[in-house]
């Protein structure tokens, strides 16, 4: 059992809702445990800067911001904070091959993410929120992109590197306390239908033997998250149809 009472392969409680903002073309709100994120998509529209025009496809720009009260210690985040820029570039990199940008040459798609409360798993929640917001905006994509983290907590002695044992102990969907501990962690983003990996990110030392098992766990977590998001999106469209019929 982990600190918050979950089992190793259990993801946090997740709830999400699309179409929450009035001005954005597409928006979504997603809560994974205590991490809360609001995403807004504007586009495709005319680029603000001439330098951003690409002749054969749409330009994607991503911006991430943290609210000052998002962390337990109040902190004002600057606009060009390196960590935020890095997260933004991960999200952009993940979605560039998935969004059908060649359908909208010379235009711009803006994705803005606002983290309202932070309890671990920023990159994964940003990716999940972006997927929902893009679907809500009606921007054509090849597939759903879902992300999840997985880690390794060394509770077994060094000799016992057994595959079975590893899959029992490795936690999925880490929260802030687990992330801050020195154990290695991996973020994986997959395309839901094909199972292909679009993002694999890890900053810690992890042996190759474990990587396979950990990535599999993360993929399973992704599938669960994908189901929840899919349900929420379909429900939203059904509601809209219901209103039109009435």
């Amino acid at each position: 059992l982990r600190i918050d009472g979950r089992r190793a392969t259990e993801i946090r409680r997740i709830s999400c809702k699309p179409s929450v903002l009035s001005q954005a073309d597409g928006s979504a709100y997603i809560e994974q445990g205590n991490t809360k994120c609001l995403a807004a998509v504007y586009g495709p529209r005319e680029p603000r800067q001439k330098s951003a025009i690409l002749h054969n496809r749409a330009n994607i720009s991503v911006g991430v911001s943290f609210a000052p009260f998002a962390t337990s210690e109040r902190k004002k985040w600057g606009k060009s904070d390196k960590r935020l820029l890095e997260i933004a570039s991960f999200v952009k990199q993940t979605f560039e091959p998935v969004i059908q940008t060649s359908s909208f040459p010379r235009s711009q798609i803006d994705i803005f993410l606002q983290i309202l409360q932070f309890d671990g798993g920023t990159v994964q929640i940003c990716i999940n929120a972006t997927t929902m917001a893009l679907v809500d905006a009606g921007i054509p994509m090849n597939d759903y992109v879902c992300a999840c983290t997985a880690g390794v907590i060394q509770q077994v002695p060094i000799l016992a590197y057994d595959d079975k044992l590893m899959s029992q102990d490795n936690p999925v969907d880490l929260n802030l306390i687990e992330e801050s501990s020195n154990s290695p962690e991996v973020t994986v983003a997959i395309l839901a239908e094909s199972g292909k990996v679009t993002l694999l990110q890890s900053e810690s030392r992890l042996s190759l033997k474990k990587l396979q098992a950990v990535a599999q766990l993360a993929k399973a977590g992704c599938r669960e998250i994908c189901d929840v998001m899919d349900k929420a999106l379909r429900k939203n469209v059904k509601d809209l149809f219901g209103k039109m019929e009435a």
């Binding site: 903002l21 609001l38 609210a67 009260f69 309202l116």
Partner: protein, 310 residues
């Protein structure tokens, strides 16, 4: 958010306002429906979120932390007074998700403007909060109240909503209890981490709210939508507290207002403001009663939070 408006649309709005009918059917002095919820952010000392109609959405988090007393001032008297008070620091941020024009550096000027206005009213003589009570050790330590407002969605009337949400968040703010002990080196303090001992911040009920009156044609309206804001010549911000006393007036916009109309607008702002505060306080009380009922019955206090929709 629209930045251009056609002359035909402009005429339509001005004529409508003249006949006391606005695009969404409201009268000139009608507010859109306000939904408030407090206590959404567990790690902040206090928080509130307000949604106006189906548009403007403001989230305010208040963090109370220990800091140094502000000892600056030219005058000896002012310095003396300041050394016995706590501090209030305001920060308003327009999130890029609220509108296309807030991306990158687009919101900087606007953020500054909103922050300064909020700061001026809350730190002014009619700010409402009992700053003396927030002082821990005179001349040394005090409570610093950090008010962070985040604008999540924009559909007009931002400043009013920022004030209303700030007031609601301050209602929800609890300051930890301090215990001051006398040692040989002087006074030392400690505060308890137990949230049961924390007391509500004093003076929240005297915090004023702002009513923005917009002059369109020869009439004035309250709670403008983005399109209406584009047709406005001049704007008047009236800060009112719950007793109906005017705590601040600021004119904005490029047009001008005749003195007779100015008086009328201030009076209107005062009455409407008082009415809004009354409604707001009723809603806050109702919410608090329901929350305590749920706690007594051991039910989970589920906040609608960001899923609140009208």
């Amino acid at each position: 958010m629209p930045v251009l408006i056609s002359p035909a649309e402009r005429e339509y709005i001005i004529n409508g306002v003249d006949h006391n009918i606005r695009a969404d059917g409201r009268g000139r002095l009608d507010y859109r429906q306000i939904v408030i919820e407090t206590g959404l952010i567990p790690q902040a000392s206090g928080s509130a979120r307000c949604r106006l109609g189906e548009g403007t959405d403001v989230l305010v988090g208040v963090n109370v932390e220990v800091g140094q007393v502000d000892m600056e001032g030219d005058d000896e008297v002012i310095r003396e007074r300041k050394s016995k008070r706590g501090r209030v620091i305001c920060n308003v941020e327009c999130s890029p998700i609220a509108s296309q024009q807030f991306a990158g550096r687009g919101a900087e000027d606007f953020n500054n403007e909103l922050t300064q206005t909020l700061d001026r009213v809350l730190n002014g003589p009619q700010g409402g909060l009992n700053l003396e009570k927030l002082c821990i050790i005179p001349g040394a330590e005090c409570w610093v109240v950090n008010i962070d407002a985040l604008i999540l969605d924009y559909a007009g009337n931002l400043l009013d909503m920022v004030f209303i949400t700030t007031r609601a968040a301050l209602h929800n703010t609890k300051v930890p209890k301090t215990i001051i002990t006398k040692t040989e080196d002087g006074l030392e303090f400690d505060f308890s981490d137990d949230m049961e001992d924390a007391e509500r911040i004093e003076g929240w009920e005297n915090v004023p709210i702002a009513v923005t009156l917009s002059k369109i044609g020869s009439r004035h309206i309250v709670d403008a939508t983005p399109l209406e804001e584009l047709t406005v010549d001049a704007r008047l911000l009236v800060a009112v507290n719950k007793n109906g006393k005017i705590c601040g007036v600021q004119k904005g916009g490029s047009g001008s207002i005749e003195p007779s109309l100015l008086n009328e607008m201030i009076q209107t702002g005062g009455t409407i403001g008082q009415h809004v505060i009354q409604k707001l306080d009723e809603q806050l009380e109702r919410e608090e009663k329901e929350t305590s009922k749920k706690i007594v019955r051991n039910e989970s206090v589920g906040k609608l939070g960001f899923f609140a929709a009208i």
